[in-house]
């Protein structure tokens, strides 16, 4: 049983082999099976709409302006929540990272906060802020504080002490030291935290919009559920996925600009 004994495959067979081993093959195959299942009524529409139907609904919702309008509402919620959460995370991490007394004051509170699942806070938030925009934004903000705080704080504490020594020996003041050495050195960690925060923000958006929304992606989904419009639900899932992709793309863009000095990026340039 040697390699020589195996007959040389035909051209068509080799092509089939290449196609089957390509990375796009299995998702496309699944889509085709799904479409086939819908057309033959193996998958009823009230269970799951066909991909072609989903695409048509997507196009219709874009043209009618229904999707852009609701997407904008959701986008605004994420942006406001992220802005507050990331801002607070950065501020707390600076306080804890740059002074011992700040660390003693802030870090225990953050560690306690970490143990509470943010989703479990939503009843309390509803009691406090009602079922309007404030609760949704507050949930996103509260959830995104921690990843930013933790990463930036450990980034500041992890700065190479030798670099700080060197900078001090060249007569930098404390303020210059923070601005020229500590903050740029902690920037990669901050961006890692930001990436986590963006992912969490999209997840929290989904959860927050289940709370009595009158606009936004969550509102579309809830409405569609009531009318058993599985096509609209799938459209919204696709939009959520693209939100996640867009967030990732955003952080990559920031990293590429801010960390241009890093060797992996330097070598590519």
């Amino acid at each position: 049983m040697t390699a020589l004994a195996i007959p040389r495959p035909h051209f068509a067979a080799r092509l089939t082999g290449q196609v089957v081993s390509a990375r796009w093959f299995s998702p496309v195959a699944l889509l085709l099976l799904w479409e086939l299942g819908s057309r033959t009524d193996v998958i009823p529409e009230r269970t799951l709409a066909a991909p072609s139907k989903v695409l048509a609904t997507l196009a219709g919702m874009i043209v009618s302006g229904e999707l852009p309008a609701n997407l904008l509402v959701s986008f605004w919620r994420v942006a406001a929540g992220l802005g507050l959460g990331v801002g607070a995370g950065i501020a707390l991490a600076l306080v804890a990272g740059l002074s011992r007394s700040g660390e003693a004051a802030v870090d225990p509170l953050m560690q306690i906060k970490r143990t509470i699942p943010v989703v479990a806070l939503s009843p309390l938030f509803i009691v406090w802020f009602g079922i309007g925009e404030t609760t949704k934004i507050a949930l996103i903000a509260f959830a995104t504080v921690f990843p930013v705080y933790l990463n930036l704080y450990s980034g500041i504490r992890g700065i190479d002490a030798r670099l700080i020594d060197a900078a001090r020996s060249f007569g930098l003041t404390q303020r210059e030291l923070i601005w020229n050495v500590v903050l740029p050195g902690a920037l990669p960690s901050l961006l890692v935290g930001l990436r986590y925060a963006l992912t969490i923000a999209v997840i929290m958006l989904v959860i927050a919009e289940q709370i009595n929304a009158s606009a936004g992606l969550g509102y579309l989904i809830n409405n569609a559920r009531d009318f058993m419009r599985t096509d609209i639900i799938v459209v919204c899932l696709i939009v959520y996925a693209f939100l996640g992709l867009g967030a990732d793309w955003l952080v990559r863009g920031i990293e590429k600009r801010a960390l241009v000095w890093r060797p992996s990026i330097v070598e590519q340039a």
Binding site: A166, R168, S169, F170, P184, G185, W261, P263
Partner: protein, 263 residues
């Protein structure tokens, strides 16, 4: 210029106004440094004259780094009789450039006054890196990084230049070139230099005076009057003396040991 001659000059100065005794730029008197129970440096006396090139030899743990940190002003030395000049600069074994600042900005780090970019450019041209101003530090070779660190030190026009084993991580050829560069910069700018090294030959090739530090005490001092480049005849004797002070067997002893280990 030994201590006795300095003393005579000081006496003569009263009668001959033009000759002034030179104030040392560095003076440590009975300097002691402890970390908890460990005494790292015991009652050390050290004077460095302006423009003097000193090499400090010592094994690991001899207190070299502690002494250098004190002279650099990085360690708290309150309650000690220490005089160091206001303008000091350090070059470390690892260049310690900030990777997120371009080469010229690293050189300009913490510079006061105007024309910062111009001064940084001039210093970088002086070390032969005029073409790398806008490079990122992580793209530099080891030799280039060390030359940048030298430029960063010299742009401050220090009265005291501290070199902490700056050539230890470089390959032999680069090291020889760096020796020449350091000497030419020293001649041009005339700072007092304290070179911390564990390379005896390097110390002999570069310094006016070689000190040996052992267990926090200066156990030997050798002045080398011969001009640099004409020291080859002195090297074997000096090397053996210094290695003896460092408690290392002379080099031929090492060869004998190696040979017997192979046999």
């Amino acid at each position: 210029m030994d201590a006795r001659r300095g003393f005579l000059l000081a006496e003569a100065a009263e009668h001959l106004p033009p000759v002034v005794p030179v104030e040392p730029v560095v003076r440590l008197r009975d300097f002691t440094r402890r970390f908890g129970e460990n005494t790292i440096i015991h009652g050390l006396d050290l004077e460095i004259a302006p423009g003097e090139f000193i090499a400090l030899l010592g094994r690991s743990g001899s207190g070299k780094t502690t002494l250098l940190r004190t002279l650099a002003g990085l360690d708290d030395a309150r309650g000690q009789d220490i005089t160091v000049p206001g303008s000091r600069a350090v070059v470390y074994q690892d260049a310690r450039l900030l990777p997120w600042k371009k080469v010229w900005r690293n050189v300009a780090l913490g510079l006061r006054g105007g024309n910062v970019r111009e001064r940084a450019e001039k210093a970088l041209s002086e070390v032969g890196l005029g073409h790398r101003l806008d490079a990122w530090p992580l793209t530099l070779s080891g030799g280039e990084a060390q030359r940048t660190a030298l430029a960063r030190a010299l742009v401050r026009e220090p009265q005291l230049l501290l070199l902490d084993e700056p050539f230890a991580a470089l390959d032999a050829l680069t090291r020889i070139r760096m020796h020449e560069l350091v000497l030419s910069l020293w001649r041009a700018h005339a700072p007092a230099v304290l070179l911390v090294t564990h390379d005896v030959d390097e110390a002999i090739a570069l310094a006016d005076r070689v000190l040996v530090l052992d267990s926090g005490r200066i156990v030997a001092e050798e002045r080398i009057a011969a001009p640099r480049g004409e020291r080859d005849a002195l090297v074997p004797r000096l090397r053996d003396t210094l290695l003896g002070h460092l408690k290392v067997a002379p080099s031929d002893g090492g060869i004998v040991r190696l040979a017997s280990a192979r046999a």
